[in-house]
């Protein structure tokens, strides 16, 4: 889908079947995102989250994005998910569905766990029949028991995280976008979910993993991109990219205040 073209991000039916391994799913070229922070009614303070980022994402790979806090990694994920459009540059999505792993952030607090699964799945493009097929797996995996029919206001933070993780784990989008933490919930579930996610990243699932922890990227990803101050500095083998990034951080402990 070309930039500026209005309409749904939901792809056409014929494009949805299995992707050929190594096929390009998303291509971003020289994208820039400038936020206009409103400081008052008449004052706007422009701030470039991304200045010039280019990257490609191929089916079946896990792409790691490294960079310090505030260099625009989360903004990049939002662009890839077609939640926002870049101010400059182009993003082409060749028909892949995308979703962020941290779905629990958007849950409705007064709805039950079951309804939240349903609502999230609908937004990810599932039909009611498909949801019915998956809902029991999701509920079992989240280990919520009877709480699944209670409103979310009564959930602990750990329960919410478990529900959010399970939704994204079972409702596989073509491209899974993961921001920072792999594990979710309490210690026990965190171990379980981190392992499950690592298995998923190593499998054929296409993943974009954003982290400032270089080790995670080195261990799990096939390819890595390093972004510094909104610009792609390096793309390629994760070990090499991570090394360059770590060296850079050592020399420039804090080039720019965290945003």
């Amino acid at each position: 889908m070309a930039v500026g073209e209005a309409g749904p991000h939901i792809p056409e039916a014929e494009q949805l079947m299995a992707w050929e391994h190594g096929q390009c799913l998303i291509r971003a070229q020289n994208i820039a995102v400038i936020y206009n922070r409103a400081t008052s009614l008449f004052r706007r303070d422009p701030f470039s989250a991304l200045k010039d980022v280019s990257m490609e994402l191929y089916a079946g790979e896990s792409l790691g994005v490294v960079g310090r806090n505030g260099v625009g990694k989360t903004t990049l994920l939002k662009v890839l998910a077609d939640i926002i459009r870049p101010d400059r540059g182009t993003v082409e999505n060749f028909g892949a569905t995308t979703a962020m792993l941290s779905m629990q952030a958007g849950f409705d607090q007064f709805a039950t766990g079951r309804t939240n699964i349903l609502l999230s799945a609908l937004l990810l493009g599932y039909s009611e029949d498909e949801i019915k097929e998956h809902i029991n797996d999701i509920i079992d995996y989240a280990e919520l028991g009877d709480f699944i029919d209670q409103p979310l206001v009564g959930y602990s933070a750990g329960m919410r995280a478990r529900l959010g993780f399970s939704v994204c784990y079972f409702l596989e989008p073509d491209v899974l976008l993961i921001d920072e933490a792999l594990g979710a919930g309490d210690i026990e579930f965190r171990r379980k979910s981190a392992e499950a996610m690592q298995a998923k990243i190593r499998s054929d699932q296409t993943v974009v993993l954003v982290s400032h922890e270089a080790n995670t990227i080195r261990e799990l990803c096939d390819r890595a991109v390093w972004i510094e101050e909104g610009v792609t500095r390096m793309t390629g083998d994760p070990a090499a990219v991570v090394e360059a990034y770590e060296n850079f951080v050592k020399v420039n402990p804090r080039g720019k205040p965290s945003v």
Binding site: L41, G106, D108
Partner: protein, 262 residues
């Protein structure tokens, strides 16, 4: 992944199903939160009618015969309008977290708000306007009630979409809307009729679509008169224009809203 079966899923169908389940869940949640649940939906307008009856009917002696039915039609119509608009004002703004996680067409949110209030109001109308069956003598013009109801729904939808689209850019408006809605209570003839205002102002009074609609409700339900079709068509046309503009704004700014809280 092969799981998606998009052939039958165009965007609007997804939104329609989302709105359906979301509204259903909100209605259940709202009734579960209070002990009297559904009863509150009725008590709110009933208590308001009681207040107006005491103040204007008894203290000011402005009521006259059939004042309860008169108030009932005005109060229910105004409540529907008022609740729908105030729910829509923040409908997009409060979904900031959801829309930063997954793409959602933004018209979904005011649509949820309007649909929620529609069902709530339908329940109120069935019970309270149903009471008119007992209080008043039925007339054939009662069949026009649903028509006026539909016109009011279009008006509400248009204004709801418009405020929902604008408010995220000018959050200060959330403070302006409530007093304006309160003003609409006093300017729309909820507790007085057109005949009670000075003749020179009647012309302007008719420019207020809510005032006009409340009058049309009373004409068909209480006085056995035909509705003013030209007036209703005018409201539908102007509302449609506002609705088209609001939807255009939402489409144009669809991917701008998730940026606003950054």
């Amino acid at each position: 992944m092969g799981i998606f079966d998009q052939k039958k899923n165009n965007q609007f169908r997804i939104v329609a199903r989302y709105v359906y389940y979301r509204v259903k869940s909100e209605l259940t949640a709202e009734t579960a939160r209070t002990y009297l649940s559904y009863v509150w939906w009725l008590l709110e307008p009933i208590l308001t009618i009681a207040v107006f009856y005491v103040v204007f009917g008894m203290l000011f002696e402005r009521g006259g015969e059939g004042f309860v039915s008169f108030l009932l039609l005005g109060v229910t119509a105004w409540f529907w309008f008022q609740h729908s608009i105030s729910k829509s004002v923040t409908s997009i703004r409060k979904e900031a977290r959801l829309m930063s996680q997954v793409y959602v067409p933004k018209y979904t949110f005011p649509l949820c708000a309007v649909t929620f209030m529609l069902f709530k109001h339908l329940f109120v109308v069935l019970v309270l306007v149903g009471m008119l069956l007992v209080i008043e003598t039925p007339s054939v013009t009662w069949f026009f009630y649903p028509l006026i109801f539909l016109v009011q729904l279009i008006l509400i939808l248009a204004l709801s979409v418009l405020v929902a689209a604008i408010v995220p850019f000018i959050p200060d408006l959330t403070l302006v809307v409530p007093p304006l809605l309160r003003l609409s209570l006093f300017l729309s003839g909820v507790f007085y009729s057109q005949e009670m205002i000075p003749a020179g102002y009647v012309h302007y009074f008719r420019y207020n679509p809510l005032a006009g609609l409340i009058m049309e409700y009373r004409k068909v339900m209480l006085y056995g008169q035909m509705p003013d079709f030209v007036y209703l068509i005018k409201i539908v046309l102007i509302s449609s224009l506002i609705l088209a503009f609001g939807l255009w704004l939402l489409a144009k700014l669809d991917r701008i809203y998730p940026r606003l809280n950054n």
